[in-house]
């Protein structure tokens, strides 16, 4: 098992150019990166013999807006190693103007549906994803509900159904 500092050091040595920030606050290793190196980094984390992150626990989108991220959007990955029982968090930042990042679904199949959910809710596209469609909302839904500017009540989809009348209404 590697301590957070050891893990971060290893990542730092290899990807120093793309790392925005690292943190071991509360004993949790967190590394913030530029989106371009995501596949290389994930590949390294998975295949390095001392790290061996064989399990992608979760992957989710974040809309930072005014929360002080490096960019408007982020995708956060939580990795776990069954072998060593240690964890790491990876945050990739994505600019609003070009909301796209490479998929990691070829490294962990678990990423497939999670990435579709991020796409569905935040409109962040995943390059090379095998099946980039909406997963929760209807296919003809417009907008991305978890973006901060999307109104909680939606923009009318819930009111646009055909009304069925009672047969033989009195």
């Amino acid at each position: 098992m590697a301590t957070p500092l050891e893990m971060l050091q290893k990542v730092q040595d290899k990807f120093s150019d793309n790392i925005l920030k690292t943190s071991d606050r509360l004993g949790e290793a967190t590394v913030s990166i530029e989106r371009d190196c995501i596949v290389d980094l994930m590949n390294f984390l998975r295949d390095d013999t001392d790290l061996a992150f064989d399990f992608l626990m979760d992957l989710c989108g974040v809309d930072y807006l005014e929360m002080g991220g490096f960019e408007r959007f982020g995708v956060t990955y939580h990795l776990y190693s069954m072998k060593y029982n240690h964890r790491i968090r990876v945050k990739a930042f994505i600019p609003e103007t070009d909301p796209k990042i490479d998929t990691v679904s070829h490294l962990w199949h678990a990423a497939n549906w999670a990435e579709r959910e991020v796409y569905d809710m935040y409109g962040i596209g995943f390059n090379n994803h095998p099946d980039m469609r909406r997963i929760l909302n209807p296919d003809d839904f417009e907008g991305f509900p978890l973006r901060k500017e999307f109104p909680a009540e939606g923009i009318g989809y819930r009111d646009n159904f055909e009304k069925i009348e009672r047969l033989g209404a009195q």
Partner: protein, 159 residues
């Protein structure tokens, strides 16, 4: 029954209606459309403590074609609404709908883009059971109210 269209509205058809309504109201066949927590409460209504069989409605059918009472228990999402409408259309006349719980009746606390704000916007509803979730007694009350309503129905309206 087809008879009333020939005979029109006379003493014979009204007596026939009474008889039919008596039969219909005491043998409702519910089709549960349970999408959330309310459906759990609905299960307890079917069990022996509250026992819907006392009102003749214990024969649950999970096929809309075999049932005449649609009980919508739980929130209906925008993806589920077309399904609900389709199920409603598949049921044979005469048919009735109970909207169970705050969510089905009004969207409840879920004033969000994905939740229908009351199924009565899109399908006809005959009785509402308020509550979150409604107590079993409330649902029984809704069924009794529905039975009272069925008593007054006229088959002449179903042509």
């Amino acid at each position: 029954m087809g008879l009333e269209s020939k005979l029109g509205d006379n003493i014979f058809t009204t007596q026939l209606d009474k008889f039919l309504n008596w039969g219909r109201k005491n043998s409702l066949w519910p089709m549960p459309f349970g999408t959330a927590c309310c459906a759990i409460e609905f299960m307890s209504v079917m069990q022996n403590k509250y026992d819907l069989a006392r009102f003749g409605a214990e024969a649950m059918r999970f096929s809309p074609r075999q049932s005449d009472l649609l009980i919508v228990a739980g929130r209906v999402s925008i993806k589920m609404m077309p399904v609900l409408q389709r199920i409603y259309r598949q049921m044979a006349e005469p048919k009735w709908v109970i909207s169970m719980g705050a969510c089905a009746s009004s969207g409840g606390i879920f004033d969000t883009y994905s939740t229908i704000q009351g199924i009565d916007n899109f399908i006809p509803v005959d009785a509402y059971a308020p509550g979150c979730p409604p107590r079993p007694e409330t649902l029984l009350d809704a069924i009794i109210k529905l039975q009272k309503k069925i008593e007054t129905e006229r088959s002449i309206h179903y042509k």
